[in-house]
């Protein structure tokens, strides 16, 4: 009888059977995910154990863990990790400070608040390339606005990117300019969720401003701050575009992040296997950070739930 019904409905009816509909709906997404992400990931993982170079005809030979060993014992790699850590640490800290101050400002009502808020959010809506080009031009010592302003106080042109410290500062400022509004949004979400009666009660108790912040405000925003730190750390760890456009990693290699170094090895030097090994080490670090992020999200969900 069932067979007869199946025959009557044909293949379409069989396929659209509620038992199979779920699988059918997710199949295109799974296929795309496999083709675009999982297969390249597995393939490059395999490549990291060979001595393959994409621009050579040589047949790849198995090298075991030697690419990983070479990468992990390369001083240049550790220098790039160090540079990345300095940029990540400085930039995320600056974003937190500016984002937090902006959130405190926008938590209050004032004239044109909505319009100003929209303008403040603009940088994070721009592309990385645009931001990189803007700041490269801002820092240009002959006609850039930074040098122009500084010229009012000094007689000589102000050359922001001439030293390693100046170049790192230049990148950190550009990245912080772009992403502080994102931190502000997260913190603002926490600030507006604080019940007003708590502040009223604190006022009756004559609690100091610091005491009000520490005992009322901070508990509401701390998990959101943690989310902001983790999210921005993961993103800044992969920083490529802004660095490549503003300094190309210079002066020398003083601003070359691990992402730029990886790109050079993979697509300019064609050290395909070695760069695959490095990419997996970077991926491992990002996965660890992502797990911390997910832990923080879950904790936040438990707190608010």
């Amino acid at each position: 009888m069932a067979d007869a019904a199946g025959r009557q409905g044909g293949f379409g009816a069989w396929l659209l059977d509620p038992k199979r509909r779920g699988a059918l709906l997710v199949t295109p997404a799974i296929t795309i995910l496999f083709v675009m992400n999982i297969f390249p990931l597995l393939w490059s993982f395999g490549l990291s154990f060979f001595n393959y170079r994409a621009n050579r005809l040589n047949v790849p030979s198995f090298r075991g863990l030697s690419n990983y060993e070479r990468v992990l014992t390369d001083d240049k790699v550790w220098e790039r990790f160090q540079t990345t850590a300095i940029i990540v640490g400085s930039s995320v800290l600056l974003q937190l400070i500016i984002g937090f101050l902006l959130a405190l400002l926008f938590a209050k009502e004032f004239p044109l608040r909505r319009i100003v808020l929209m303008l403040v959010l603009t940088p994070m809506m721009l592309s990385f390339v645009s931001v990189g080009v803007f700041f490269k031009l801002f820092y240009e010592p002959t006609f850039g606005i930074v040098s122009y302003v500084m010229n009012m106080f000094t007689d000589d042109a102000f050359v922001t990117l001439a030293t390693p410290a100046g170049a790192i500062a230049g990148i950190v400022i550009a990245d912080a300019w772009m992403w502080s509004p994102f931190v502000m949004l997260l913190v603002l979400a926490g600030l507006v969720s604080v019940p007003k009666y708590l502040y009223e009660a604190a006022e009756i108790d004559r609690a100091s401003a610091w005491r009000r912040f520490w005992t009322i405000t901070f508990p509401y925003i701390k998990s959101l701050l943690l989310l902001a730190i983790l999210f921005r750390t993961i993103e800044t760890f992969k920083l490529f575009d802004i660095v490549y456009i503003i300094t190309e990693g210079g002066p020398g290699s003083s601003t070359e992040t691990i992402a730029v170094f990886l790109y050079r090895n993979a697509f300019q030097f064609f050290k395909t296997s070695q760069s695959s090994a490095l990419a997996y080490i970077v991926l491992f670090i990002v996965i660890v950070l992502t797990n911390l992020y997910l832990y923080a999200v879950n904790r936040r969900a438990q707190e608010t739930g």
Binding site: N55, P141, F143, A162, T163, G250
Partner: protein
């Protein structure tokens, strides 16, 4: 009945076969997709092809140029080749890329085709030998090695490319400033030598005078320049000092070669060494001289970002008196809509190093690009692509290209009496081309180049000295080239 059908069928087939044999090759629709940097010399090639090209084989040929912006040109071409998409039939390529993409099996060896075709052989014989050496040979043969062979094509030499745009660097300068009587007199008073105004003056300009020009014209906003009050700071000189790609190597190599030093010489592998050559005392002194003139250049030089486009921009904004830049970047300088100095600019040969006999050595690193064919093309496409090569390197096309911002590498075209007047920099280009040499062509060139650019950049930005930079470069190159088997 069966027999009659068979006979008539055979007769029909014979007639058809005879008919095809009697007519020329069938015309076909052929599309040649060419990877090309997006700038005037390649834009003109496309326009002129569409307007004038007629296939000698009677094909309907389309030249489909894939114009790629310069900053991403290498990455885009490399990604296409290594991904195996086989998109391009022809590629405009930097000469340094030859080794990487020949060894990868992507660029076609044209030696047999050239030897079998008298027209291609004639073109090769007419090309300037510096260009043949740089643009065509792999493994690389120097101009001297090719000339020693005494015949073209040389025995045992592999040829890959023909010039699409042969470039040299020349001096762009402000005639209104350098030929101003007051400035000329003040320069003479200060240095006891003339300020170069005419082409002949620039022929006699060495690096010492280049430095003097830099010092002399370093002026602040409010100072006078050529009888007018400056609104912005002004600088006398600029040459490339950028971290990206080869934007300092090209200039530094010139200093090193002119002083008698050398880079690692791939044509002498496996005997040529990097250590002791790259960081020789001569090379260090040459690099120090290059660095010494940066103090007179626009402050962007201190950031290591003064590349060929930045100096072109600063010059067009009227902020620099003289720059040394590629001929290929000259056309926008004369464009009234882009350049404030379009009607004040003149061109001369680049300065060089004065020798003991008073002559000036202008040895420099060649620019420009050859074009090559790829290995996956059918015989029909290869033949038609070579017809395109012949069309591009024909006399009429080369003169038209030169009149529209291009350059020729054919000696017969450069000797044409009208050639020097076609564009204002042509005389300097013809003079400079004879001094050209090239950097390495080995597959590892990008790694060699990037590390060298980083070390040069540290010296340019004052983090380390010339010796420290060249020691680091030599050590790195020695290790890499030994690992790769180029040094024994």
């Amino acid at each position: 009945m069966q027999t009659r059908k068979l006979i008539s069928g055979l007769m029909g087939a014979t007639v058809l076969a005879a008919g095809f044999g009697a007519t020329p090759a069938l015309s076909a629709d052929i599309t040649i997709t060419m990877a090309a940097p997006d700038w005037p010399p390649t834009r003109f090639m496309k326009e002129h092809f569409d307007a004038t090209y007629q296939s000698p084989a009677g094909h309907n040929t389309v030249l489909d140029m894939d114009f790629i912006p310069w900053p991403s040109f290498y990455e885009r071409v490399a990604a296409s080749l290594t991904s195996g998409e086989q998109k391009y039939q022809m590629i405009v390529t930097d000469s340094q890329w030859l080794g990487a993409f020949v060894e990868g099996g992507y660029y076609m060896n044209l030696t047999d085709k050239i030897k079998a075709d008298p027209e291609l052989t004639a073109i090769l014989q007419d090309l300037h030998p510096a260009l043949v050496s740089a643009y065509s040979t792999y493994p690389h043969k120097t101009r001297a090695q090719l000339e020693e062979m005494g015949e073209v094509p040389g025995p045992g030499v592999n040829y890959y490319g023909f010039p699409q745009f042969p470039d040299t660097y020349v001096t762009f300068y402000r005639e209104d400033v350098f030929c101003h009587e007051g400035e000329m007199a003040a320069f003479m008073d200060k240095y006891g030598t003339n300020l170069p105004c005419s082409y002949e003056d620039w022929q006699d300009t060495d690096w010492t005078k280049w430095g003097q020009i830099g010092e002399f014209f370093q002026r602040k906003a409010g100072d006078m320049l050529a009888g007018e009050t400056l609104e912005d700071d002004f600088y006398g000189i600029a040459y490339q000092a950028g971290k990206g790609y080869d934007f300092s190597t090209m200039a530094i190599n010139a200093f090193i070669w002119q002083k008698g030093g050398d880079i690692w010489d791939e044509s002498k592998a496996p005997d040529a060494q990097a250590e002791g050559v790259v960081n020789s005392d001569i090379a260090v002194a040459a690099f120090e001289e290059y660095l010494s003139y940066l103090q007179y250049m626009p402050p962007v030089a201190q950031t290591g970002q003064m590349d060929i486009f930045v100096i072109q921009d600063l010059y067009m904004q009227g902020k620099v008196g003289a720059i040394i830049d590629w001929v290929g970047l000259g056309e926008p300088v004369l464009d009234p809509s882009a350049s404030t100095v379009h009607d004040k600019s003149a061109f001369g040969p680049a300065p060089g190093t004065r020798q003991a006999d008073g002559s000036i050595d202008r040895t420099g690193n060649i620019g420009g690009q050859p074009f090559v064919l790829t290995t996956w093309n059918s015989d029909e496409v290869v033949d038609e692509a070579l017809n395109v090569v012949k069309w591009w390197l024909s006399r009429d096309t080369q003169l038209a290209a030169t009149a529209n911002g291009g350059q020729s590498g054919l000696m017969s075209v450069m000797a044409d009496p009208t050639y020097n007047d076609l564009r204002p920099w042509n005389r300097a280009h013809v003079e400079m081309i004879d001094w050209q040499k090239d950097v390495w062509h080995v597959p590892d060139f990008f790694e060699l180049l990037t590390q060298q650019q980083e070390e040069f950049d540290k010296a340019i930005t004052g983090q380390i000295g010339a010796k420290e930079a060249l020691d680091a470069v030599a050590e790195f190159q020695q290790e890499l080239l030994e690992d790769a088997g180029y040094i024994e």
